[in-house]
């Protein structure tokens, strides 16, 4: 029996917003793939991103760095912004320890995260 939940990224569109759904585990072993996919989105001209973490089990610092690097890349566009939603308890705790809850706007769900973006 395999207990490991493969990290997967799926992307949905709402108008000009890209919602990035990350499932599984965002750790040292999986972060490279996540970084590539998210950065490709940004370099493809998508600057309003919502990262939906509903299906994410946990995140380590390697995963946090993915968001930090993407945010830095995205800030090169004046309208660029990354918002985060649906953090579970352990992800929320890691965000608070690291101060990432101050760097990123965090929301209950993707609907709330879309508010203010037309």
């Amino acid at each position: 029996m395999s207990y490991f939940q493969q990290m997967e990224i799926t992307i949905t569109n709402v108008d000009l917003i890209k919602i990035v759904h990350i499932s599984g585990e965002l750790n040292a072993a999986t972060s490279s793939e996540a970084e590539t996919k998210i950065n490709q989105l940004i370099m493809g001209g998508n600057h309003k991103l919502i990262i939906d973490l509903d299906k994410l089990r946990y995140i380590s610092s390697a995963g946090l760095r993915v968001f930090l690097i993407a945010n830095k890349l995205n800030k090169k566009n004046p309208s660029g912004e990354i918002r985060i939603c649906k953090l579970n308890d352990i992800v929320k705790e890691v965000f608070e320890i690291s101060g990432f809850n101050l760097i990123f706007k965090c929301f209950e769900d993707s609907t709330a995260a879309q508010e203010g973006w037309s």
Partner: protein, 143 residues
């Protein structure tokens, strides 16, 4: 009653971090470790192995890392043994002000060690010969 424990040894490379995490994940499921403790053990292990391999300059298939996890009456203990460069995580636990200076985040394992520091009860590092020995003790509140 036998204390549940996990003992593994693996080649020191980035890919094997996943092997170690999978082994720990399975161990936690089989021993019905509560969800929050389970995830914290995984995060701690991920952070320490990343530091050993990336910052201990040990991405080297000819080298091996030993890892164990066991539950005592008082706490959980994670133990790591490796032959990387001298690396005492406690020396890097000072507060890193990366909120004001994002470049600070690039410093040696700063962000990961900040997370580690918040999750654990104590850390004991020593170097004997060419080996690093690190033991983390983690106390959890009953859920």
């Amino acid at each position: 009653m036998k204390t549940p424990s996990l003992n593994i040894q693996f080649q020191s490379n980035i890919e094997n971090i996943q092997y170690a995490l999978n082994s720990l994940d399975e161990f936690c499921y089989k021993n019905s470790v509560p969800d929050l403790e389970h995830k914290k053990l995984l995060i701690l292990t991920d952070e320490i192995l990343s530091n050993i391999i990336k910052y201990g300059k040990l991405n080297d298939d000819s080298q091996f890392i030993s890892f164990s996890c066991k539950k005592t009456d008082e706490d959980w203990q994670l133990e790591f043994e490796d032959r990387g460069i001298h690396f005492d995580p406690a020396n890097y636990l000072e507060q890193i002000n990366y909120k004001e200076d994002p470049d600070e985040i690039k410093k040696v394992g700063g962000l990961g060690l900040k997370i580690v520091n918040n999750f654990l009860h104590s850390m004991d590092y020593h170097r004997r010969g060419e080996k690093n020995y690190l033991r983390l003790k983690i106390k959890f509140i009953n859920q």
